[in-house]
Symmetry: C2
Subunit: 451 residues, 2 copies
């Protein structure tokens, strides 16, 4: 995080903080960040965004310029602004590793800290987890639909701004994409950078084949030709000429790309034409408004596509461009420093109180069979998914290399039943509430009702 992002928060975090500063300087609280319900057709989510959160924690500072701005708002006392000028996070954070598979109501990040500090980071935490987890979940669906085919991210032009432009490729790569067209993301995160050519390139030449030839001469070993600018069949024929020309020179044409039209028909035709010309090694790329639904249909109907370029629909999570991600207080200390569990009791928006852990149970073959949402101190069988990543303000977790996170996500997902990973899932993974948590909830509901 750059320093100038410290004010990337809702104003009420600061006004509440000032009130806490006056009334609750010594109060600690725990907040859970979780997703209330999964979007349509999602049967699981892929945790993503922790790297940015840890970066944020390590760099959160209010600059003199920030403080001057806040001072001009006529809301904040000199004392409070002085407090902000020396702000540092002192709490603990537990979180799921990036690439962890998780479900509704499971805390993915848990913050225990002075209430003022835990509150101030609400907006940033939500914003970060929302984008990256949403994209990783969507991208994972696309990867599942593509089966053994590779999928590449082409979404930069339609992602929501510059930050999404680099975070989407990272999240998609974690979820199993094989590369990105976004050079900055490729550079920052060491993701393979990929690309073909645009229609405008083809159109800038007099004849389509002139453009193919020029590109092939420039990148003889790395050419993928876009064949649908004018007439696709003619485009394939021209690509074959180039393929044969490269072959003569000892190079292999990498592929052709279909970006419009009937992909099933055209890919079969292209495969046949390429094979007959002795270019069986030339791969066929498909792109153009693809998503998991379309990819599944294409493959089911025998499309001869080797690699997919997926853009907008994944990069905006178009059918569900947000998660119902929330940050809820679950316990708060009383005047003696003792943590008391808390819950909200509005209709249809009940939350789970207390300091919790998620336990993942497996069967004898190592397959995951259910999660138990329980209290941290309960003895429950299963792997605890939340791990301590910040201890008394100090970041104690080092984000693994991106490749490792990607492997972790893949292996992790591989241990769930295939039914979870269908494009239209036929299975709901069981998340059980532990006896201890159930009891606590009931007892609190009784108290609140009487209040």
């Amino acid at each position: 995080m750059k320093k100038e992002l410290s004010l990337l928060m809702d104003l009420y975090e600061l006004t509440m903080a000032q009130s806490y500063f006056i009334y609750k300087k010594n109060t600690f609280a725990t907040f859970d960040l979780f997703v209330r319900g999964l979007p349509p057709n999602r049967a699981y989510l892929v945790a993503c965004g922790l790297e940015d959160i840890l970066d944020y924690i390590g760099n959160l500072k209010f600059t003199p310029e920030d403080l001057r701005y806040l001072s001009r708002q006529g809301l904040f006392s000199r004392d409070f602004l002085r407090y902000l000028s020396g702000f540092k996070f002192h709490g603990d954070i537990w979180a799921m590793a990036e690439g962890e598979i998780f479900f509704a109501n499971e805390p993915v990040v848990r913050v225990t800290a002075p209430v003022i500090e835990a509150q101030l980071m609400e907006s940033f935490l939500l914003n970060t987890i929302n984008l990256q987890t949403m994209i990783a979940a969507k991208a994972s669906r696309v990867v599942q639909a593509a089966g053994s085919r590779r999928v590449y991210d082409f979404s930069l032009r339609r992602t929501h701004g510059q930050d999404a432009g680099i975070k989407v490729p990272r999240s998609a790569y974690i979820a199993g994409f094989s590369g990105t067209s976004c050079v900055l993301a490729a550079k920052l995160y060491k993701i393979p950078a990929v690309g073909t050519m645009a229609h405008s390139y083809v159109m800038s030449f007099k004849q389509e084949i002139d453009s193919f030839l020029a590109y092939a001469e420039t990148f003889p070993a790395k050419t993928i030709l876009l064949v649908d600018t004018y007439d696709t069949k003619r485009g394939i024929k021209s690509a074959i000429k180039i393929g044969l020309y490269l072959k003569e020179k000892g190079y292999r044409l990498q592929g052709i790309r279909l970006d419009s039209g009937d992909i099933i028909l055209l890919s079969k035709l292209a495969r046949k034409m390429l094979d007959e010309a002795g270019l069986g090694y030339v791969k066929i790329f498909a792109s153009g408004n693809l998503d998991e639904f379309k990819i599944k249909k294409l493959l089911a109907r025998g499309a001869r596509v080797d690699n997919f370029g997926v853009g907008t629909n994944m990069g905006t999570s178009i059918d569900a461009p947000c998660l119902d991600v929330i940050y809820k207080i679950t316990e708060v200390t009383d005047e003696n420093g003792k943590f008391l569990p808390k819950m909200k009791l509005s209709k249809a928006k009940v939350t789970y109180p207390g300091r919790k852990q998620v336990f993942r149970a497996q069967d004898k073959r190592g397959r995951f069979v259910k999660d138990i949402l329980g209290l941290e101190k309960e003895k429950i069988k299963g792997r605890p998914l939340l791990m301590k990543v910040v201890d008394k303000g100090k970041v104690i977790y080092k984000t693994p290399a991106l490749e490792k996170i990607r492997d972790f996500a893949r292996l992790n997902l591989g241990r769930f039943t295939p039914a979870l990973k269908e494009v239209i899932p036929s299975y709901k993974y069981p998340v059980i509430v532990s006896p201890g948590l159930k009891k606590l909830r009931q007892s609190l509901a009784g108290q609140l009702g009487k209040n």
Copy 2:
């Protein structure tokens, strides 16, 4: 733009650029950035994003680190990398002013430059216009639905990342929103910052009323109380106690906020209770999954809401989280430097060739009645919407103050028929193709067909 954003581009921009560097160093081209078709229920768009584009043009540089990264890709020649190291934009850019209302197929940005330079900025231009125009269009719909009520942006927690977190409030403000909860956006763009309190704040106190009192003591002149954490009716009663307490001390409670439940019922109840208590001046805020459809319904059914807080649905443009925004080559110079018009002829994806302008015609009363998409040199009656903003690489346009852009958008939109601005629009604004452009298209289609 920060320097490190120069690589925020698709890899193919760079590979094509290297090919242009070899084959088309002296070739100029014109590109149109436009939206192919409007998303469902949108009858107009609001141009937004030009400020960032001009900033980008002024700062586009490849750093030594960028060049080292590119060099490692094994794709680029030393000569080409040297060219990039001295890269500067030399072209002309014409664009619609921010706040301009526009329609499908109308160029909102037009670039004429050496083809290599025009190509390199494709991804950034598309990414920028897509986000900001999409949000301004969605936000404008929300503002229209709210009529005389004010609308505030609360979307930070669900916008797609950090950049969207500040660009969404700016775009929404241009479209008529009255403020934002995002402090960084408020600071950077001089937008009014607004906020209330969170459920967690209320829950961090023993009793709801304790939290209200603490907040009111901290901000006696600026308190808006969130009343739905436990029982909303009881929350309103507690808010009234605080309102009366503040009144005694010479302050006015600003408002209460309803964030869940039956807003129609609860707002009527709250209004009645507040009025009976002599707190007629206390405003009622509503929030919670609002959008233009819900706001229209609430108001039609008599909800007594004064101000709306709108978050996720606007900040992600949830029902249409992308625009079909594209960047198409429309002319290119031949070996003699003469511009030749170009168009794409794939099925269902035909483009308009040549260097174009958009002319807006009005009736005698000053109301806009139709646009004419024509060739720049045609003599057509109507206000030309594209203005020159970059001349031979130099930015010659100064972005007006945000308030001015906002006024321009409002006045501008006011000159269209109300039917255009309905939540479900009953009117399609006519965009006519000029005789000159029609003729050019036919002649090119003929040539391409024969090719």
